[in-house]
């Protein structure tokens, strides 16, 4: 999670040996059923629709995007909680789908998930000790009583909780402390990959930083690889080496964290970054927003062609509406080869050859309410 390691430079990971996670062509489609007697499938939610994702050992990959774009579903598909409709996921060289029985159970411990809401992901009737030991026992890591006690103490220290916490129950802790328990539980089985789905978004601002710092410290200490899912772009930038931006089930841009924020190339990423308010009034006064019209289309009826074309201010007459852009390396001076974009016109947009259509509203709120919107003021 530092900017100085080699891993921070994003180039497409071609050295297979260095990959911990390799997901190819992953699709997760949920059937929409209707009918009382026969479960008739009347359509699909295309929650994840063709994603390639590689994460190197020891790196932190951040996945961002708006609500409903498929981040959590992709995360679950990766750790095997949601079987992919299509595609393969391999972790540490093993195809997750091919794992069965005891082998699956044994390998399950390699990838753990940390959830957004620490309260609902921890069984309220179990003490912290029993929560932690449960996973260890399932993976045969709790056979020796003395060793287990030592390990529990080590885990608590690692996540910054007092030893007395073992005998307590989840409701006796604050949100930040509960998230620490969730992290300790994931750590207990010595995983290689942790998928953290919105690990700090339920926490208070003042406590978020504690958990972010904790995740960073533990990564160094336990050689962890992280896939962090979050909608807070500042948090993701801080924590990630590389970042993928999702829109309606697909990756639209991928780059090293610094490159993505310094030079976003996809129209959606540009709009997303321009929309984030920053806690600095001077910067706020200068901020030029790209306001998008409308809303995310439904993932059960994704638009044809580029999925962003219904909201894209740079949309062109050709290609955008009928040809789905692939994630590709762009030919722009100074842009690293690891910076990939799924937009037909990325080069022309960056050079300024293609200009955005400003979606300027025709009337201000004041005009509207004065009844001037349609020229028939009767109020």
């Amino acid at each position: 999670m530092t900017t100085t390691t080699d891993q921070a430079q994003a180039s497409p990971p071609n050295d297979e040996g260095d990959l911990l996670l390799d997901a190819r062509g992953v699709k997760v489609h949920f059937p929409i059923k209707r009918g009382v007697v026969f479960d008739k499938t009347i359509g699909h939610v295309y929650a994840v629709d063709g994603v390639d994702l590689q994460v190197r050992r020891g790196e932190t990959y951040g996945l961002v995007g708006e609500s409903g774009c498929g981040k959590s579903t992709l995360g679950k598909a990766i750790i095997g909680l949601e079987p992919p409709t299509e595609g393969t996921v391999s972790i540490d060289g093993t195809d997750v789908a091919s794992l069965k029985g005891s082998e699956l159970r044994r390998r399950r411990k390699d990838f753990q998930m940390v959830f957004q809401d620490p309260m609902s992901s921890l069984d309220p009737r179990q003490s912290v000790e029993s929560l932690l030991v449960e996973g260890m026992r399932a993976h045969g890591l709790a056979s020796d009583g003395k060793k287990t006690t030592a390990r529990l103490r080590e885990l608590l220290t690692a996540v910054g909780l007092p030893a007395a916490a073992l005998k307590k129950y989840p409701h006796e802790f604050s949100g930040g402390q509960r998230q620490r328990i969730g992290i300790a539980r994931a750590l207990a089985v010595e995983p290689k990959l942790i998928v953290a789905d919105e690990p700090v978004s339920a926490l208070d601002v003042s406590v978020q930083a504690q958990v972010i710092n904790l995740l960073e410290e533990l990564q160094g200490e336990y050689d962890l690889t992280y896939l962090v899912i979050a909608h807070d772009l500042a948090v993701v930038r801080h924590i990630s080496d590389r970042i993928g931006v999702m829109y309606l089930g697909g990756l639209v841009e991928e780059a090293a964290a610094d490159d993505l924020y310094a030079q976003p190339l996809h129209p959606y990423t540009r709009a997303l970054l321009s929309a984030v308010p920053v806690p600095d009034p001077e910067a706020e006064d200068r901020r030029e927003q790209i306001l998008l019209a409308g809303d995310l289309p439904s993932p059960s009826k994704p638009p044809a062609g580029c999925r962003f074309h219904t909201r894209c201010p740079w949309r062109q007459e050709t290609r955008c509406d009928d040809e789905r852009p692939q994630l590709r390396v762009v030919e722009i001076d100074g842009v690293a080869s690891g910076h990939r974009v799924a937009c037909h016109w990325a080069e022309q947009i960056e050079s300024g050859e293609i200009q955005p259509q400003v979606v300027a509203p025709t009337a201000t709120v004041g005009d509207l309410l004065a009844g001037e919107a349609d020229g028939s003021d009767e109020g």
């Binding site: 930083a209 500042a234 201000t364 009767e378």
Partner: protein, 336 residues
């Protein structure tokens, strides 16, 4: 925005406060439990065309403050003290039916939880249209296209179709936006917005915040913006109140407060959030502990157990709120 660093933006809509809250306290009493004071002597003013922010983390009393002003606290089990005068009328002492009347007309609120405030059996379009008829005196014919335009402007896609939808047919985010459209439609003189965009995506949040800005600037609505997001505050509020443990601990114009935070809590908050701009890589500086560690305000500073620079008196005496102009500070040992 053209505010200067030290004075609040002179409102072009008038300098007299529209709402003046003084020493507002709310104490909850539950059987078998110690009384709990959620809001503890809060005072602030809002002028027409001005946006005043209340910022703080969860549980610091933001929602209770707004519900108390709106007369929407549960009818039993709490005591409300102080005054909230709206053009000379104390809203806290207004009979329920008069308050209800005001709420529709002069004062509107956008809630954190939108479900409770939409009528489930009336289509969204009709709800917005009716507000326009009732409050803007428009005919139905004139109101309909305006309602459509408002829904469009709050980012509800396909507004022609959505006009006919009932609240339950909309997603949570869309319901929130419908509610915002309704609040805009009544062009209230005072709008209290409690975390109006917290549940929304950033691109939609940007649309809504720019609409709220327009409303304030165009119609002179006085806006109380309640949020935990310092970014939202930095862009929108003329004046910011930082709450901690039910009390205002610091106040200033947005430029002053962010450039020169003097309360260790404000300062700590700003140091603990990752920034989209600026350098990356350095660890964040968190505030230690959590609100669970707070001391009671009676004989101490509630923040003392988490403070980065407490002094002896902090655990012996309540720091008073010292005010000078817009600036206010409650601390025995402020930053710098």
């Amino acid at each position: 925005m053209t505010d200067t660093a030290t004075t609040p933006r002179p409102s072009r809509h008038g300098d007299e406060p529209l709402l003046s809250v003084r020493d507002l306290s709310v104490t909850f009493r539950r059987q078998g439990e110690e009384p709990f004071t959620a809001v503890d002597g809060v005072s602030f003013d809002v002028r027409p065309g001005q946006t005043v922010g209340l910022v703080g983390e969860s549980g610091c009393g933001k929602s209770v403050t707004s519900l108390a002003i709106m007369g929407l606290l549960p009818p039993r089990g709490n005591t409300v003290e102080g005054t909230a005068s709206f053009e000379g009328t104390d809203l806290l002492r207004l009979p329920a039916d008069e308050m209800r009347d005001r709420r529709g007309r002069d004062i509107a609120m956008i809630f954190q939880d939108p479900l409770s405030s939409l009528n489930p059996v009336v289509s969204v379009g009709l709800q917005v249209t009716e507000v326009l008829e009732r409050h803007r005196g428009m005919s139905r014919k004139a109101a309909q296209p305006v309602a459509r335009e408002l829904l469009d402007r709050v980012g509800i896609p396909d507004p022609d179709r959505r006009l006919k939808d009932y609240p339950h047919q909309l997603s949570g985010g869309m319901r929130q936006r419908a509610l915002i459209a309704m609040a805009l439609a009544c062009a209230p003189r005072l709008l209290i917005a409690d975390e109006p965009t917290t549940a929304l995506d950033v691109t939609i949040q940007a649309q809504i915040l720019s609409l709220l800005k327009e409303l304030v600037e165009d119609t002179g609505t006085a806006l109380v913006m309640i949020t935990h997001d310092l970014g939202v505050v930095a862009g929108l509020c003329d004046e910011v109140n930082v709450l901690y443990g039910g009390r205002i601990v610091e106040r200033g114009t947005r430029h002053e407060l962010f450039a020169n935070p003097r309360h260790p809590y404000t300062n700590g908050l700003l140091a603990s959030i990752p920034r989209l701009d600026g350098a990356r890589g350095a660890p964040l500086t968190p505030i230690r502990g959590s609100v669970a560690d707070n001391l009671p305000w009676d004989h101490a500073c509630a923040f003392a157990p988490r403070c980065s620079q407490p002094v002896d008196v902090c655990t012996a005496q309540t720091p008073p709120l010292e005010e000078s102009g817009v600036r206010a500070l409650r601390c025995h040992n402020p930053v710098r």
